[in-house]
């Protein structure tokens, strides 16, 4: 057991799988010699050499086209899209090629590849480098979508993503790269499609993802001082989704809140609210409430970015108000 940063956990997870399986390769901009713009691939070039750790030109389409071809011909690539905002310039290859190949070949060709990406805001990177794009990706049949919130989960979910036979969008929250957590020694392999209850509670269920998880936990601790015992669930995997854990929690608490780092319109919480309305309506003791960003791009200014992102305070006050009305 050792303290590891979230960013170092990314490299550890990839290295664990590269040692196990020589078909695993890494491609992306500045991921080899520079160890990644966010330093999430440090040490991989030294250990595995330039044939398995490849720098690419600044072309997202080229990165993912190469990764797709590699996956089709027997490798298990991990490709990096440096900022998740840049998926917007390569959606055709993700949505129309990568996501559909297994379906369109009647299962004859699978694409075991991982697209890892720096996702999310809070770092003053402005409107074009701060978005959370899970809800873009989860709308596409054929893609799996995970977002870990702890260093241990980064290692285990990265291993699970690399071992999966289908394309996985692996969202690393940029605002968590510097955070540290205890990570057990030895091989760690987690399961896609599993949520974790980070804090059990009786009065309300709070779902959160990525950097919203620590904020939801802080909100729950604050609420506890005011007599409200909130359960916090780290959703971790949007596709597949762990409905068993979520519905089980709602059945216990009767109240559901989602904390989302995306605009409310068609955010991931909307899908969960829909499932809960269908399958847990009679468990609900009040409306499902979603705490999201406003329907605007994320601002650059510190004060404005802090204002629009869900905070521990806004989560706590929303939950408290809802339970009192």
């Amino acid at each position: 057991m050792a303290q590891l940063s979230y960013r170092d956990a990314v490299a550890r997870g990839i290295a664990q799988e590269m040692r196990r399986d020589e078909r695993v390769v890494v491609v992306g901009e500045d991921i080899a010699g520079a160890g990644g713009v966010f330093k999430t691939t440090v040490g991989l070039l030294d250990e595995f050499g330039p044939k398995r750790v490849l720098d690419t030109p600044i072309s997202e389409q080229a990165i993912l086209g190469a990764a797709m071809g590699a996956a089709m011909t027997g490798l298990r690539p991990v490709a990096e899209i440096m900022f998740s905002d840049f998926f917007a310039v390569c959606w055709d290859i993700v949505v129309n090629q990568i996501a559909k190949t297994r379906y369109m070949t009647d299962g004859q060709v699978s694409l075991p590849l991982v697209i890892k990406t720096g996702n999310g805001g809070g770092l003053r990177f402005g409107a074009q480098h701060s978005q959370s794009i899970e809800n873009w990706a989860m709308a596409v049949p054929g893609l799996k979508v995970v977002t870990p919130s702890t260093a241990e989960d980064v290692v285990g979910l990265m291993a699970a993503a690399i071992r999966d036979e289908d394309p996985v969008i692996f969202c690393e929250h940029k605002g968590l790269y510097a955070s540290k957590g205890e990570v057990p020694d030895g091989e760690i392999v987690d399961s896609l499609g599993t949520a974790k209850i980070r804090r059990p509670g009786r009065d309300a269920t709070i779902l959160a993802l990525g950097m919203m998880v620590p904020r939801a936990l802080a909100a729950a601790e604050d609420l506890a001082t005011r007599g409200i015992d909130a359960e916090v669930i780290d959703v971790r995997s949007l596709v597949p989704l762990d409905t068993r854990t979520i519905l089980g929690s709602v059945a216990r608490t009767g109240r559901l809140f989602t904390v989302e780092e995306n605009p409310q319109l068609l955010g991931w919480g909307a899908e969960i609210a829909s499932i809960v309305a269908d399958e847990a309506f009679w468990d609900l003791d009040g409306p499902v409430q979603r705490i999201t960003t406003p329907h605007i791009p994320l601002p650059s200014a510190d004060s404005l970015e802090d204002l629009v992102m869900p905070s521990a305070e806004s989560v706590a006050s929303t939950v408290e108000k809802a339970l009192q009305s």
């Binding site: 847990a280 705490i291 204002l307 869900p310």
Partner: protein, 258 residues
């Protein structure tokens, strides 16, 4: 930080917290409270809510139910009156989906709730599904689940199976005979079961069917037999009435299936 009022609705938590029209709760009784009151046989009109803005809370319903349930309300069932009815139900569309068993189970659970009195064990039946080969499964919250929720629960390989021979708290048993070639059996009530329902193999055969133009003709249909045994004393209903409800609900599911 001061924020222009016009921006407020676009900020997190910035939606109006109070419903328009003054301090009245948006909903007096939540779904959870309504379900609990129905299950415990409590009239919500007679409960003074202690929650925010006078809302009736889950705890209020619990207190009201405890007060209402005097010891004399318990009726000892000495004798049993068992009866079995059998029906054939068309499931042409459902049989092509993965929802057939879940639809039968949902129909049985909701029919039992509908025909039995509130505050009876039948209004919150514990479900036990007996599969021909697979594990037996118990579901305690079947009355809360939709067809898709039941399918998910019954399909879930990680669910803890109930073992044969274990004492069962089930009030509703469903015997899944699909795949055995049997049309139905006459299910026997075990333990505390009030109702047992067998679902036979789905059979394709020519039948009189409704045509798209509204007329009738001969076509291929898929049918299952349902055999239902009920303890009519304990369940407070008779087999024919209950099975008719199950059949009607299942036919409605079939019409909606595609």
């Amino acid at each position: 930080m001061s924020v222009p009022a016009a921006l407020a609705p676009f900020l997190p938590g910035g939606r109006p917290a109070a419903p328009p029209g003054g301090r009245r709760p948006r909903h007096v009784h939540s779904p959870r409270v309504r379900r609990l009151a129905s299950d415990r046989g409590v009239s919500l009109d007679r409960i003074a809510g202690t929650g925010p803005l006078g809302r009736v809370t889950v705890a209020d319903v619990g207190r009201a139910a405890t007060t209402a349930e005097s010891p004399s309300a318990a009726v000892a069932i000495e004798s049993r009156k068992l009866r079995t009815s059998v029906a054939e139900v068309e499931v042409t569309r459902l049989a092509r989906t993965t929802d057939l068993l879940a639809s039968v189970v949902e129909s049985a659970v909701q029919a039992l709730r509908a025909v039995s009195g509130a505050a009876t064990a039948a209004s919150r039946p514990v479900l036990r599904v007996h599969a021909p080969d697979g594990p037996h499964r118990e579901v305690v919250n079947a009355h809360d689940l939709s067809v898709s929720g039941l399918r998910r629960t019954l399909d879930d390989a990680s669910a803890v199976p109930a073992h044969e021979g274990e004492p069962s708290g089930a009030t509703l048993a469903v015997h899944d005979l699909r795949g055995t070639g049997l049309l139905f059996d006459l299910p026997v009530l075990a333990g505390g079961e009030l109702v047992a329902l067998s679902v036979g193999d789905a059979v394709d055969r020519p039948a009189v069917v409704a045509l798209p133009d509204g007329g009738r003709g001969i076509g291929m249909g898929t049918f299952v037999h349902l055999a239902l045994t009920v303890d009519e004393h304990a369940a407070g209903t008779d087999a024919a009435v209950l099975l008719t409800q199950v059949r009607q609900r299942l036919e409605a599911h079939d019409r909606r299936a595609s």
